[in-house]
Amino acid sequence: MAIKTFAQAINEALSIAMEQDSSVICYGLGTDDPKGIFGTTLGLQEKFGPERVFDMPTSENAMTGIGVGAALYGLRPVMSHQRLDFALLSMDQLVNNAAKWHFMFGGRRTVPLTVRMILGRGWGQGPTHSQNLQAWFAHIPGLKVVMPAMADDAKGLLLSSIYDGNPVIYLEHRWLHNLKGEVPAGDYRVPIGKARTLREGADITITAMSYMTIEALRACDFLAGHGITCDLIDLRSVRPIDWDTIRASVRRTGRLLALDTGFTTGSVAGEIVARMSTEYWGLLKAAPDRLAMPDYPEATSPTLTENYHIRAEHVAAKVAKMVGAKSDVLELMPQRNHPHDVPGDWFTGPF
């Protein structure tokens, strides 16, 4: 297995799909520009030509419907948005057409459309370039929604999305693009709807997705050094959710903390808390809880995001409280050596 960045893993998945299946096409603003959507589409046009890999007009809604039509004709379109916020213009096509076609025509046809949307956070992305609205899509019967956190899952889930017969919303966080991991070669697929347990522990179940998984890992590893062990479940898919994996864990730990990169109210995390509370009311040792973004838009100024995002220290503090540990362990938590509004020292903007 080779070490690759999350962005390279996406690029590899696209390349493999296009190589082995001439019905796969790839388009979106900036697809063939010198930056190649944060590196994820670099080189594809050279390999597969401008008919299958192309830039598009700034027409998100129409181009999504065009993807639906192309899919109905037999293509497997992969559309990319540099921010989820831009894809909001296409909600009509996604919700009224893509999600419904199979159902409303009595199961006659499928719409194998993949829509990649990039999520943002911090560094002045502000109110309309940072929204993590996975719950909107997860709310829609007929859509599938995946949110990988690791490079291998980025590849495996993208290939599964492309070959799924349904519209899949593939959400990738900007803060993950440069993270590295081992990525299996070839047509590697990760099933949609299966979570991945990244840490095993006895005290609490933590569910997370996308970038929140990275902060959760830091929290879990820190807590493990202080005698608190967590089951960390990386959801990978937020529709469908892998309830079996969550159930098995909660039955064992009796505690649940659901993390989310989106706004608190109406979040996927809220759904997990609700379902587990209903099913396991009698065996829970503590009230299940969630940590998600505040119910406010994200502001632009760096000081206005200081107390806004959920970071590892917040997760650790919450877990400590839920398991009844002394919270002074938190003082031992190593400080980060870069500002709170960037994923690492390497990041200098503008995106």
């Binding site: 007009p57 700034t58 213009l89 002045g124 992305q125 309309t128 632009t300 100024s301 200081e306």
Partner: protein, 322 residues
């Protein structure tokens, strides 16, 4: 020096240019922490439209709005403070470079989603019409905006209701790194498309400030006379990268020679030369103008740097009107 429209036009362009250049110089310091789109090279349109509009006329814009805000008379220190994320910024630090507002001069707002303010500007026009004032609502937008469905829908409504709306399209040939030819059919001119949608439309060299001014003045009189919306397309060029302070002619989406061609058509020396030739202004006048602008800019940056950041709790305010 006699303050004429032409000398004011020059002064406005120089002011916008020097503000943007100062932002470009400061940007790498890392204190400006938000996406920032500079208008260097495109000053003529903003300066001329700003000058031709009255203070009580309204304007909206998009992501590349510094010049429009300043042209309309927006407060400079508050804009710089906003870009620095400071409490004294025009949006209190909530918005940053892409969300400017100064309602005291009719700059209603700029936002970051392509095409997002086009219908808003038309809605302002509807309000104007209903109240029966002779104000104009000006919608600044780029060439990419006409590809969005909301553009067609907005123009249609403006035409249908004969609204007092001025559409100002700055066609700088690119949307991020994407040239026009990958987005719009060859040979179809944007202004003709607007014309085909039923509104008066014209086009003009956007780097000739005096010509832009004449064109806009005409359009505004027609709108005030109740003849309905006008669409103006101005050919221009952004000199620096789409977002950020640097030049990027080396990365492959456009050529250095194309840039140099447009740089040779810099609107500022063009107007300067005409004014000097006609004896409207002297070199000493220009030096004086530059001195004044430089001290104004230095003061604005100093104030922004010294200003406090908003308190972290401020993140949790302004969600709903009370």
């Amino acid at each position: 020096m006699n303050q004429t429209n032409d000398t004011l036009l020059l002064q406005q362009m120089l002011r916008i240019r020097l503000v943007e250049e100062e932002i470009a110089i400061r940007y790498p310091e890392g204190k400006i922490r938000c996406p920032t789109h500079l208008s260097i090279g495109q000053e003529a349109v903003a300066a001329a439209v700003g000058l031709a509009l009255r203070k009580d006329d309204l304007a909206v814009s998009g992501h590349r709005a510094h010049a429009h805000y300043l042209g309309k008379g927006g407060n400079l220190p508050q804009m710089i403070a906003e870009i620095y994320g400071k409490a004294t910024g025009c949006s209190g630090g909530k918005g940053g470079s892409m969300h400017l507002v100064d309602e005291s001069v009719g700059f209603v707002g700029s936002t970051a989603i392509v095409g997002g303010t086009v219908p808003v500007g038309v809605g302002l026009g509807y309000g104007i019409k209903l109240k029966g004032t002779d104000q104009v609502s000006c919608v600044f937008h780029g060439d990419a905006v006409v590809e969005a469905g909301v553009f067609a829908e907005s123009v249609n409504f403006a035409a249908l209701k004969s609204l007092p709306v001025l559409f100002v399209c700055e066609n700088n040939l690119y949307s991020v790194y994407s040239p026009l030819h990958v987005r719009q059919p060859a040979g179809r001119e944007i202004w003709r498309m607007a014309q085909g949608m039923g509104i008066t439309a014209r086009h003009c060299d956007g780097n000739d400030a005096a010509a832009v001014y004449a064109c806009v003045t005409d359009a505004i009189s027609s709108i005030r006379a109740g003849n309905g919306p006008v669409f103006l397309e101005f050919a221009t060029y952004r000199w620096r990268e789409h977002c950020g302070p640097y030049y990027d002619n080396d990365i492959g989406y456009r050529s250095e020679s194309e840039f140099l061609e447009w740089k040779a058509r810099d609107p500022i020396p063009r107007l300067e030369a005409a004014l000097l030739r006609d004896g409207m202004i002297s070199h000493a006048d220009i030096e004086q103008m530059l001195d004044n602008i430089r001290s104004e800019i230095a003061a604005a940056f100093e104030a922004a740097d010294a200003a406090p950041f908003p308190l972290a709790e401020e993140a949790f305010t302004h969600l709903y009107a009370q």
